[in-house]
Symmetry: C2
Subunit: 336 residues, 2 copies
């Protein structure tokens, strides 16, 4: 037995398909009695409106697409959870796709979602180059998009961002205040605005405290990146007094290698991470890190998107910058 359609319901009740359709779409005048009857029979027959047909006809889907680079840290999953919560409330379903840090896959994902007529997109870019044109043209064709976490200035769309500069500055300042000098910054993936902002924060913290700016090493966001850099430092005997890493994974990778080689954290090397991961509390020593309001980011992005969907004509892109928190833990504080 195949899908039950509107026709089957209509036939069963000897009414027209329009009447059945109306029973399922509150916006039309319809006799309360017949409506009730129709809904009842529809249920009995196991009829559910086919959203594909509906999409084709109305050109909208009540689906929202979320595209993220990956799920390997809990940052993105938490953001998605926040977004999902708001969207479910409003009757939207959420379709998630991961680009696995490939711009090609990201593009394919977005295309799939658009082709499937999602009503809007929430996107965290995999890279910030090459895609400007694509997203701009997408926005031109009136597809609501909200970017978060990673975004490009040139793309005129709503964005939910984190004040990476400020919190990188705070985090670095924390290390300076603890009395460490010779602080090294391990940057994230280059070409990302957030990488640049965190780096700038690192630099300005030094300037603010009238210190020479510490060394900056291009590292990356993965654990292996941190491990690699730490190993190199050990090999070259260029171990700094403290490290401010661009994210927790990198920080933890480095910490693990240092510990393996007998260095004490923080007594020999202090470490601070970024983007609070669930690991931070549980490493030994526990890791000082900047916490991002993941849930809030997701909720805000969802709200902005719904705004945009509901006010297509008269909508002005806005950028919301959310606040974070520095969680100070053992990895950066020497107990005397």
């Amino acid at each position: 037995m195949k899908h039950v359609t509107i026709k089957d319901v209509a036939k069963k009740l000897n009414v027209s398909i329009s009447t059945v359709s109306r029973a399922f779409n509150d916006k039309y005048d319809i006799n309360e009695e017949t409506k009730k009857l129709i809904l009842k029979t529809a249920k009995e027959l196991g009829y559910r409106p086919n959203p594909i047909a509906r999409k084709l006809s109305q050109q909208r889907s009540f689906n929202i697409g979320i595209v993220v680079p990956e799920f390997s840290t809990n940052f993105f999953p938490e953001v998605m959870l926040g977004a999902q919560q708001i969207l479910h409330e409003k009757g939207y379903q959420v379709l998630i796709m991961q680009s696995n840090y490939s711009w090609e896959i990201e593009r394919k994902n977005v295309e799939t979602l658009v082709d499937n007529m999602v009503d809007g997109l929430i996107v965290s870019l995999t890279s910030e180059i090459d895609n400007n044109e694509y997203y701009t043209s997408l926005l031109k064709s009136d597809i609501p998009i909200v970017f978060f976490n990673r975004a490009v200035d040139e793309i005129k769309a709503s964005k939910v961002l984190f004040d990476d500069y400020k919190w990188a500055l705070f985090a670095t300042e924390h290390l300076i205040v603890q009395g460490y000098n010779d602080i090294v910054h391990l940057t994230g993936t280059i070409n990302l605005t957030l990488t640049k902002n965190r780096q700038r924060g690192f630099e300005d913290a030094h300037k603010k405290h009238k210190r020479p700016v510490g060394k900056i090493i291009s590292c990356g966001f993965k654990m292996e990146d941190g491990e690699r850099i730490a190993q190199k430092m050990i090999d070259n005997n260029t171990i700094p007094r403290a490290i401010f890493a661009a994210n927790d994974s990198c920080a933890i990778g480095a910490m693990t290698v240092f510990k393996k080689h007998g260095y004490q954290i923080p007594n020999d090397i202090a470490i601070v991470g970024f983007t609070e991961s669930s690991l931070a509390k549980h490493t030994a020593p526990s890791l000082t890190s900047v916490e991002q309001p993941t849930h809030d980011i997701g909720q805000t992005a969802a709200k902005l998107l719904l705004d945009q969907i509901n006010n297509k004509g008269i909508f002005v892109p806005q950028t919301i910058i959310l606040n974070g928190r520095l969680n100070i833990r053992e990895s950066s504080v020497i107990i005397k």
Copy 2:
């Protein structure tokens, strides 16, 4: 300007829409020249076939839906990555939905995906009760489904599972061989087959070695669960010599609490986890854990699903059980 359609392309070239359609569907006879011309013009016009219309017409989508409980550990993301790889190769797009451990959301997710005419589903159940009937009727209506990780015997579908019993037995055995007695098992969420199997493995390991079976405490899969139980043990002064936890999160939660109270791991309490998480290597001490072949699970599930899609009539459900590995680390081995 709205979407470019097949009509626009047809008009531009003064051919019929069927010809354009054929140019995009290799299976028909069509003049090579016209085909090339059509594809070229289509590209110039920015035409992409509308998958919604295609779905409605062919009743299939080349989309696969994956439904998982959550993304908070890296187990599910890794499985999805494996599945995605196979599916992308075969030209399928992957739509992911998370049920956040709610059977209601899970059901909605599955319905959304089905309504959107995915060609098949890969599902890890949120719960193993109440859903039997639903999935069975879904399978009856000929929708290919492969379950993984969490499945119900009663549902006759293909499954990709892990030999939880065997590896729980090995893990427990490892603790026994290390010389610990008074081993406690913290179980996962009740009502899951995998929970029962791990528990059975724990028990049988004791029997095999002619030991009295250790205490079994119902715990849960979250870090907080482990923390809660550990705290309770401390409060009640019922601290065992070793713990075999149903997963890493729980194990790490417990470990953290014990450490905070000054207990040495493994010298005071040895701990073994399950389902290798990325954290296991990086906790201090590093955590002994059973590693599941996540990537392989995803790939296998995808392959089974494709099989099923391509052989709808003559298909026999099969269950594949994959092998794991016990990674022995510091948390369970006392160095003398």
